[in-house]
């Protein structure tokens, strides 16, 4: 770490802490992040430099910044937010990523064991993720439960339709759903390689995906965005 940065960080305990916490040893990346944090804090007037170049930090302002930013992100635009709902929420997307990973772990175990109960746990953790319903459906097809499988696929399609009705792209969301369903069939065919029903449903899903991709007449998104 260069001398000027050490000098700046000594005066800015919060950002020094950032640098220390980011890595147990000095690394270029930790240093870069700390320097970028300084650039950013300066651009938001959270730190300032006097005429002689000495930095000062207003910790109260930094804390107030966080509180105000959180409020503005919740209720709309403001000086400390972008005014873009998705961009403001993106800062908390890490929690979503963690919950996806946890639920994926349950789902993967369920798929490997052919256990729909583990998929139910994944669905409980992330009820709006249609892929888990499709994975459960594929397991049930493999296990010979056609009625249960149909219910699971219907639930998946209802979730996707709801997203489309809410302003999502039909083509992108249907591609997402059908690819997930095809992957689930492939996965179960490893467990049940001679299952004819699985094979037939896989071919049908592949045809449906092709129809959506090529915008063929009668595809699931015909007449929609």
């Amino acid at each position: 770490m260069n001398v000027s940065l050490i000098h700046r960080l000594r005066l800015l305990p919060l950002l020094a802490l950032l640098s220390l916490l980011l890595s147990s040893c000095d690394t270029g990346l930790a240093e870069l992040v700390a320097e970028m944090a300084l650039d950013w804090a300066q651009s938001k007037n959270l730190i300032s430099f006097d005429a002689e170049g000495n930095p000062s930090v207003n910790m109260g302002q930094i804390i107030a910044y966080e509180a105000v930013r959180a409020g503005q992100a919740a209720f709309g635009s403001g000086d400390y937010t972008t005014g873009d709902t998705a961009l403001d929420a993106a800062l908390d997307a890490g929690d979503v990523v963690k919950s996806v990973k946890d639920a994926d772990e349950l789902a993967n175990r369920g798929m490997a064991q052919g256990d729909p109960a583990l998929l139910d746990s994944a669905i409980q953790a992330r009820p709006s993720d249609w892929n888990y319903h499709d994975q459960k459906g594929a397991i049930l097809v493999a296990n010979g439960d056609a009625v249960g499988a149909e219910a699971a696929f219907s639930e998946s399609e209802a979730l996707v339709e709801r997203r489309i009705d809410g302003g999502g792209s039909c083509r992108a969301l249907m591609q997402n759903m059908l690819r997930g369903r095809i992957d689930a069939y492939h996965n179960q065919l490893v467990r049940e390689p001679d299952n004819e029903q699985l094979m037939n449903q896989l071919f049908a899903a592949e045809d449906e995906l092709e129809a959506v991709n090529q915008r063929l007449p009668g595809n699931r998104c015909e007449g929609r965005q």
Binding site: S24, A90, G168, L173
Partner: protein
């Protein structure tokens, strides 16, 4: 003959009423706290949170493609996930950066780290174009040794692309970011650092 007088009803006093009122108020408050954000979001007064906006299935094909691309360019210590954004046809590319693991790839100086960050942004942009992923926003979580994000930053994908191509400087890039210092402040408070400040 005297009529037996009815024994006067014992008054329960105001304490009973006060207790019921207080309990009712507490119950109402709890209900408001529990349901308030949901109702405000449904009414469009409060913006949807991350869990609502990114509740659907991740774009797993895009996620795999992004991670394979990073691996093929030996960008280590980063894990990508692409999440569709509800209400739009756009997506968010989220990257979790394990700073120690990334540093193990040989990032000894800030210059090397900056080149690494630009390559990461360039790979994101290349995959976005090649697969038509429609990535509108990018988020980076810089995680410490315990895996928890200490600092989260986000910006429109165009800002990352401009930084990667050299169209904007690092200072301009930093200025365009939206930054969450919340977890860092919590940690600083826990360490007692805030009290030590002048």
């Amino acid at each position: 003959m005297t009529q037996p007088t009815a024994s006067p009803k014992r008054r329960r006093g105001c304490c009973f009423g006060c207790t019921v009122t207080a309990l009712g108020a507490v119950a109402l408050l709890a209900l408001a706290i529990w349901l308030g954000p949901t109702l405000l979001r449904a009414a469009g007064i409060m913006q949807p949170d991350a869990e609502t906006l990114f509740a659907g299935a991740p774009d797993r094909q895009a996620t795999d493609a992004m991670n394979e691309s990073l691996a093929s360019f030996e960008i280590t210590g980063v894990e990508a996930m692409v999440l569709p954004i509800a209400g739009t046809d756009g997506q968010l590319a989220h990257f979790t950066v394990d700073v120690d693991a990334a540093a193990a790839g040989g990032l000894q100086s800030p210059e090397e780290a900056e080149a690494w960050l630009k390559e990461l942004a360039a790979q994101m942009a290349a995959q976005n174009d090649a697969l038509e992923l429609n990535i509108e926003h990018v988020a980076l979580d810089f995680a410490g040794p315990d895996g928890n994000a200490l600092v989260s930053v986000t910006a429109p994908a165009g800002v990352f692309e401009a930084y990667a191509s050299g169209a904007i400087t690092r200072e301009q890039f930093a200025e365009a970011l939206d930054v969450d210092l919340g977890s860092l402040i919590d940690l600083a408070r826990g360490e007692g650092l805030l009290e030590e400040l002048p």
